[in-house]
Every structure is written in C-alpha cells, then in structure tokens.
Symmetry: D2
C-alpha cells in the first residue's frame, strides 16, 4: 500500500536526524499582551510570566529528504508552559502557525508531528544595507513582513549559546485531528519536536514585524488566523537575529507526547 | 485558538453539502490484474470480482469555501469491498492517491476525511478535435497523462444514471496518521465521503492513460506511489467519460467510519 | 537558427487569425480626468473629447497556438486619436499596460505587435451572487481589483453590436524598443491589432475598479506604472460588462503601422 | 508615459553596472559537430575552428534592480566569430537560448540587449556528495539536466584567470524583432553584453548534459528550439565548473552593436 507524504526514514532519530545542509533563520521576538496571547494558546498550555512572541522566517536549503531541494518557512511561536501529570512544569514554545511554500514538508509536519502548517508564498531573504527581510503572502495578498536591521556579527561564545538553546529548547505542537463526523477529535495531544544545529554565523539587530489583516474573499481559509496574529500588540521588541545552522538536524532525538 | 485548514462549516452535511458551482470530471476506467491492484489496496479492503481501476481528473470551479477560487484534481480509484463486523459486504471504490494543485483542499481532505491527497501541477483540460486531456506533473517531471477521445454526447437518461451512480456510490478512504514516535498509528480506519451532483452535460469516448515512472531525485516524496501505479497493467479499457456536475455538493450527507 | 517566442504561423491573418476557442472579458469603463489620462498616453496619440478609461480582465481558454493551454489577462485601455500624415483622425483605444500570467503571450505580443505586456498573477473570474470579479497581483502585493455586479443578460441585438464593435474598433499599441546603447530607439511606431469574435453570451452591470499603490520594494519593475494608473480619478462609471467570445480570432486581419 | 520592463537605470555602464550581490554559475562545455552547431548559429556569425558548446545554469541572488529578489538561468552558448566591415575577426560566444524563471529579466534582456530569453522552471542547484546539478523544465516536461561531479577547488591563480576571462570575453546576441506585418525585420543586428565579477570561490569537475526531446503538445512554443539543442552531438566533454561571482556587475561597460 502506498503511503503518501511519509518520511523517507520513519524514525529519523535512529539515524541522527533529518539532514538540512544549510538553514538560515531570521527572527524577531517581542513582548505582547497576556490576554491577547492567550487567545492563540490552546489548552492545556499555559502562559509563562512573560508573554513573549517570536515571528521568524527560515530558508531551508540542501534538504536531504527532498533530494537537495529547498523550501522556505514563515511562522510564529509563543512562550508557553506544559504542566501535566507526568511532564511537570515544562517550559518551551508553542508553534501557533507555520506557513511553508511547499506542500511536502507541510504534510509531513502535520501528519507526524502535529505542526500547524499551512501554505503561503514566502520570499527568499532580501538583503539591503545592514538589514535582512522576508515577506509572506498568499493569493496575492500580504500576510506579514519581517525585517531585522542594524545587524551585528555575534562571536563564537554567543553562537555556542545559540546552539545550546536550540538543542535544549522544547518546541511544542498540538497534534489535533477531528474525527470524520466532526463532532470530536480523533487525536488531540501536545507533542515535542527536537532539533539541533551547528551555528557557523549569526548576527543580532533590531526586529520589525508587520501583519496585514485579511478577509474571507482575500484568503478564505487563513483570514481568521491571520487576524488573530495581527491583533497581538507589540509592547516591546526583544532579541532579533539572523542565524545560520549548517547543518541542521531535525528530529535528531525521539519526539514525545507530553502527558 | 486558531485551527488551520479547517472547513468553514464544520459539518457541511447539516447545510446541504459544500457547494461547488461547476466541476468537470474526465475519467478512464480499465481492467487490471488482481495481484497488481492488491498492492495498492490496504487491509481490510478486499478486491471485488473484477479489479477495475479508474484514473480521473477534475476541474473544480466556483468553489464556495474558497470564495469562488478554483483547483484541479488528478487521481486514481480502485473498486473494492469492505466486509466488516457491522458494515457487511459494502461495495465501493478506494482512493489510492489524489493529486491536487492547491494545498487548501489537500489539508481539509486529509485531516477530516483521510483522503490520500498530495500536491502536483495539473493542467486545465485541453480540447483538441473530439478529444479532451489533462496532465499531472511535479517538479518538472510528468506523472500521468489522461485522455478521452471520440467523445459522444450522452442523453438525459444516461445522465440521470450518472447522477444516481454518483449519489449512491461509496467512496472510501483510509484515514491513517502515524503516532509521533512512528511506532504505530494514532488513527487508522476506513471512512466514507458522500457527494452528489446535477449532470447537465456528459460525453462518452475511448480512454487512454499513461503513467511515467519516477526516481527519488525527480520526485523524492512521490516516486514510490507513482511507480506502483505505473506497474498496474491495463488489460482492457472500459467506460471513459467527460462529465459535468453543476452544481456538485461534497459531503452532502454525513460521512461515516466503517466498522 | 531558432527563433524564440515566435508565432506558430508567421502571418495568422492569412489563415483566418489565431484561434481562441473561448474567451471571457470582464470590463469596466469610466470617465477620468483629461490631464491625468494624458500622462499615460504617449505622443503622437491624442485624447478624444471624453477621456474614457477601460480596465478589463480576460480569461483565454482553448488557445490553439498554446496546444489548448489557457492564460489570463488584466489590462487598461484609454480612448485615443491618431492623426498622422497618412492615417488621419483615426479613433480607437491605446493599451497602456497589459498584465498576463504566462510569459509566452507576453513575448509574442511585445515582439511582434508592441503591446506593453508584463507579468502578474491573475485570478480566474470569481462569481458571487450577481457579481463577477478578478484580481491582479505580483510578488504577493495586489495591483488592482475589478468587479462588475448586478449583471443582466444582454439580448441578441446587443450582442450583435458587441461583435460589430469588436470587429471595427482600432486597438493601438506603441511598438517601442530602445537601442542597445539606450540613447535612442531602435523602433518606435504606433500599430494596430485587429481581432474578431462571436458573442454567444453577454451581461451588463455596474463596474468597480480599485488600484493599490506600490513601492520599489514591493514591485521593483512595475510600481511606477501601477502608481500612474492608481492616480487616474474615476469621475463617472460607464458601461461595464461580462462578454463571452467563442471563438475569438486574434490578428484575423493584417495589422498595420499607422503613419 | 509608462515604459514597462525598463531598466531602473537606463545606462547602467555609467554607474558601474547592474549589481548582483551573489551569482553562482554551473557550466559544462563540450565539443560538438560543426554542421549541427551551424544550425543554431545565425548569420553573419561564423564557427571558429572548434565547435564548442557551453550549457550552463546561474543562480542570481541579491539582485539590486529587483530590490534584492532572486532568479535562475539555464542557457546555451556556442563559440563564434563575428567578422564584419568595422569589427573584424571578433571571437566570442553566441547565446542560442536563455531560459529564466522570472519574466522581468526576460523582458529587459530581450528589449534592450536582444538576448533570446524565454521562460522555464529552473531548480536551485542541488548538491549531493561532490556533485552539483540543476534541471530546466516547462509545463511539467523536462528540457535539460546539467550536472558537474567530482568537484575540486580551484586556487587563487585559476580564479584570477576566470575573472579575467569573464571581463574580456565577448558575449554576443542577435537582437531581432520582426516588423508588425511579419514580412521582414524591424531590427536585426549582433550586439555585445559586457559583464565582470569577483570570483571568491570556484571548483572544476566532470560535466554531464542531457537534453529531453519535446513535442508541440508538451511545449508548444519551445519544442523546436529544444529539439535543435537535443540534436547537438556531444563528442568530447571539456571544462566544467562551478563558479561564484560575488558581486557580479552586468553591463558594467557600454554594450555595442557590431558592424
């Protein structure tokens, strides 16, 4: 029986992870309002002391499971806490939505790991003077623009911290599929997605994020999530960076369902 | 909490189904070899007396849940029987794989109804003399070509039969999602997807199907399913048609899990 | 020697024109301001008594020279007069800019006929209630939205007038190519582009046009023309229609250079 | 009056050329048959002693006139001689055809410089082991695959030679536009297109080129040129390289019409 959209390797963590030869991450973190952020955070996840939001883009290059093909990401994570019966007080980030410009990683990420991936057009990073930017759009309408300017090189110590943070962070997703009658869920649980990377180059600067509100006519399946994100107040910009991971290893350790 | 890729209406069957203003279906059915077909049919589905395979394309136009946007389909169904403890000896067709040229219907169809949908480039139907054809490709490599030539108009009685067959047929999918550790399944069941349509125009002719073998380098996530389909021998062409449904109503009745 | 982007038939007018099996034209005409319109009208063309502007979209289907493939158009014409030494007081329309969503017709139209064609994403017409609309965008940024609502069917007499007007109208383009040193022009002349069509169906309604201003960063090669169009005041809406030509014959008569 | 598809800077050579922040060129040169090559070489160009053909791909990144956007190229050059009344015995290369995956550079290159540019889908370079490859396709059908394997780093002396060769080479195009009646040409002359670049990295290896024959149905406007290229015999592979130019300056000197 054919299985569509499957991993080449069913359990990549048994082989060191999925190899991404070169990824570049552009990210801007900001402090938002707790009540607004709580509207994008599903139960049982809770807000930590600071409602931090990170908007980011990723250029994935030399992707082994795609025979070396490329794709881009535009996404939003929020800081969160999972406090369950087995897994107590786990601090991490929850992926609210992840746009990708290729259906293949969307299907793999949704089916296996529950990542809330959907489709958009995502520009390769554009560089101008000391700034780097990307833009996400769909059906001819802008979704968000992300830019980090005044980029300054980070030294080896800072890059070592970035590598450690990537390795140790807990990236959480809600794997949720409704049942076929749509009166309940077939699956609904929080799970993790580990990854690691070597950071040969990184820069820090001043981030800027702009969401563009949308309508049903413009973007019929995404306007509601776009408008929820656009409603998040930006109270204070925090760390904003351009970071290279080469290579990056996705699912280099076993993911787990949090309980 | 945002839910991505969801139906506008959670239970379309409570509102008469999802409205497709105009759909056109180009299909070619052939008799194949039982052993070859059994390789694309998952348990617990069984082969009926005749191993019939249908390759088809659909142009979906004026799709209400997409604010009137359009998309195309290229797919394969095989005749099958579900014989369970509750649902006994149910004859219908199983959708082996469905390519679509837009990610939105792929996600909805997978998440809720378990349809094995993946992405491809699919041409609008091309008309030449008395033939109609479509072509499915991905990453610059052809997947299959479908053509029906010598098209003759079908009369009202034949069209009434087509409408009845569409309404009464049982279209089955395997809703299957692996668990996050990939050592078992979160979900795995056979479910139905009802639809109906009004047929104002239809033609019958001689069908022709050609699959193109693929490699990992050409189509890294689809080459195996493509090659399975390409291996199906075409022993005898059967009914081949061009059929308009306007409107078509998808999920006009409640889908169900077969047991 | 290969010639790229050439017509299959060098002189289509010797064979009855280029066959378009089915085209649908959505158009809205408005009265604008003479001074503003004069900024989009190149010498030696002159404004007629009324500065009329027509914004339109076309769905070209079953295009013979593209082996039956399809493409869409979004464009603007303005009423104009050519008053030369040989061709005196010729009334017609000038095509300010024509966006198309396929490079093939762009190249043919530019190279041979001097049409100011450039690339954009153009939606298939979307129908909702009694309205029909299309949208032109590029690089994820909207260019213009066009809609005609309150559509009422036109009778056979009106359709005969539409056919006559299409056959008899003089559609003018400025064929202009700079020389390789870019200090003058290799070619610069006004030429015509005849076409005809059979009109089996047509509707009239109330038109609506909205242009979206653009920047270099959003649309680096088109922002200036977009902003010129966005600057045209809409003083009064005039005839707005949805018209089918099936078939349409492009270049069914010999085009000519006006002198 | 709007001019569509124009250079931002009309005469880039007065400002140091058009800035391309980063370009990577993958190329394979082979010895072919004089008679076959003569079929892709227009008069008055002549073949040199050796009928050398170069097939290449280029990834253009950080393109200033596109506000930092990117595009890819796939093309073929052949060695040639222009021996005119003024310009005597000029050795260089003629660009037979250049596919690009964005319409903007196609229009600029055709209108101003006469480059025989047409549209295709062109993959970003894929790296595997010590090989680098790219693939050109259109409408779901492959046009050519290019690969260079066994890549070895070139030293500073070799890179200085590459820079000098790029600066000093004469790249020729036939700027040819038919007149509107298509019974003669509005323009038809050979012109040059200078460029320069800094080469920080380069590799040499073993090239491999495969053209895929095409039909009118598969690629209605390009099948004839594709088949002409596919007919060129590969008698002996010559220099094959992967070369980075960062930055590259296009039209850094005044182009000229050869006489």
């Amino acid at each position: 029986m054919p299985t569509c959209g499957h991993f080449r390797t069913p359990r990549p963590w048994e082989e060191g992870g999925m190899h991404y030869g070169h990824t570049t991450v552009l990210s801007a973190t900001f402090l938002s309002d707790a009540e607004a952020v709580s509207r994008v955070l599903p139960a049982p996840l809770q807000l930590p002391a600071e409602p931090l939001v990170t908007v980011y883009g990723v250029m994935c290059r030399d992707v082994a499971w795609l025979a070396g093909k490329n794709y881009n990401i535009g996404a939003m994570d929020v800081a969160c806490v999972f406090d369950g019966e087995v897994d107590r007080n786990v601090h991490g980030t929850y992926c609210v939505v992840m746009w990708e410009n290729m259906t293949e990683p969307i299907l793999g990420g949704r089916d296996h790991s529950g990542v809330a991936k959907i489709y958009a057009t995502i520009t390769d990073f554009q560089h101008k003077d000391d700034a780097c930017s990307t833009a996400v759009s769909h059906f001819g309408h802008p979704i968000f623009d992300l830019s980090v300017s005044g980029l300054n090189t980070l030294d080896a110590a800072a890059r070592a911290e970035i590598e450690a943070a990537k390795h140790d962070s807990v990236w959480m997703n809600l794997k949720h599929f409704p049942n076929v009658e749509n009166d309940g869920a077939d699956i609904s649980y929080i799970c993790t997605y580990p990854s690691s990377g070597t950071c040969p180059e990184a820069w820090e600067g001043t981030g800027s994020v702009q969401f563009h509100r949308s309508t049903f006519e413009q973007n019929p399946t995404q306007f509601d999530v776009i408008n929820l994100l656009a409603d998040l107040p930006i109270l204070e910009m925090r760390t904003s960076r351009l970071v290279v991971f080469a290579p990056m290893k996705a699912l280099d350790r076993r993911p787990k369902r949090l309980k």
